[in-house]
Symmetry: C3
Subunit: 132 residues, 3 copies
């Protein structure tokens, strides 16, 4: 198992971690298989989406802020981040990516993102690479 660290800069933010994940794949020496990623936290998730136009990530975060705002009259959890916990379950804390020819299998527009929902923080992601 390997881990990578990601520094986030805002309460809610998608941070492109494609380069770090690619490095894990190439260091593993695995040519064909999968990499399983896991965020070791309950207020950030992992996702894959467009990394060409930064407005895509920005719009995703903005709409999530409207759908699941930080404050709700009915929240009971004392830390004021119930919204961050829900957003994490909606995006999911894990991701399984395919590997071929020693590199990630991604579509033309796909990048790997950490979805920060309660930053800024330093986040840890664990990874296991499996050969096919």
């Amino acid at each position: 198992m390997k881990t990578i660290e990601v520094r986030t800069r805002a309460r809610e933010q998608l941070v492109d971690i494609s380069a770090q994940v690619r490095r894990l794949v190439s260091e593993s020496g695995v040519k064909e298989g999968v990499i399983h990623l896991w965020a070791l936290h309950t207020t950030c998730g992992l996702t894959v989406n467009e990394n060409a136009d930064p407005d895509v990530a920005r719009d995703i975060v903005e709409k999530m802020r409207h759908l699941v705002p930080q404050a709700e009259a009915f929240y009971r959890h004392g830390e004021g981040n119930s919204d961050s916990h829900l957003k994490t379950s909606l995006f999911g804390p894990g991701l399984t990516l395919l590997i071929e020819d020693g590199d990630l299998v991604l579509g033309t527009w796909q990048g790997v993102f950490l979805a920060e929902w309660d930053g800024p923080r330093t986040r840890k992601i664990a990874a296991v690479v499996m050969a096919a």
Copy 2:
């Protein structure tokens, strides 16, 4: 393949199944790898979130109830649980967890939950463990 059974007690509820999943991992004898979990249903999912303060799970369920209420004028499915089906796709019916030193790799606050969206019922989860 192994299966575990989970008894839920409410229509919508997060049930902590960490201990049952840990037992599957230890019984498998696998020291390094992953466990793939799969809920064999279309109205409950699997997720990982905080299991320290029970208000976190409670707030998640409560907000999901507001976002995706049971009744909508435009629903056509006759069983009155279209909301449960959508909540299941939003949380996802599967989960891949990492294994190291013969145990689950989880962050300090992470617990594994069955997300019941149409209970109370007895649910079945299938599992396959793969060695790295």
Copy 3:
């Protein structure tokens, strides 16, 4: 790695791809293990839900349209499909399904769907099968 193609017919639609995925499993010859599926796009995802009553898929799509409508005053991405990108992250672009006795492990009502959020288009899904 194998790929399958899926033709979608509407902007937003759940398309049942269970038969195509089953074929990938049987062609692989793997009797026990998992199949990892990956949609190579940023505006469609993969999910599992009921494929008995078509109104379930219809209600899921309809509710997603209400939750995440195409137009929002605050969207900046110029292509007018920020909603499709978010829906993709909410459903997820990947899926790991269990295999036993050379076939998918699915509950009675479960079918595998491509969740189209910006069609109609021809979509490509990559797959890797791993033996347990």
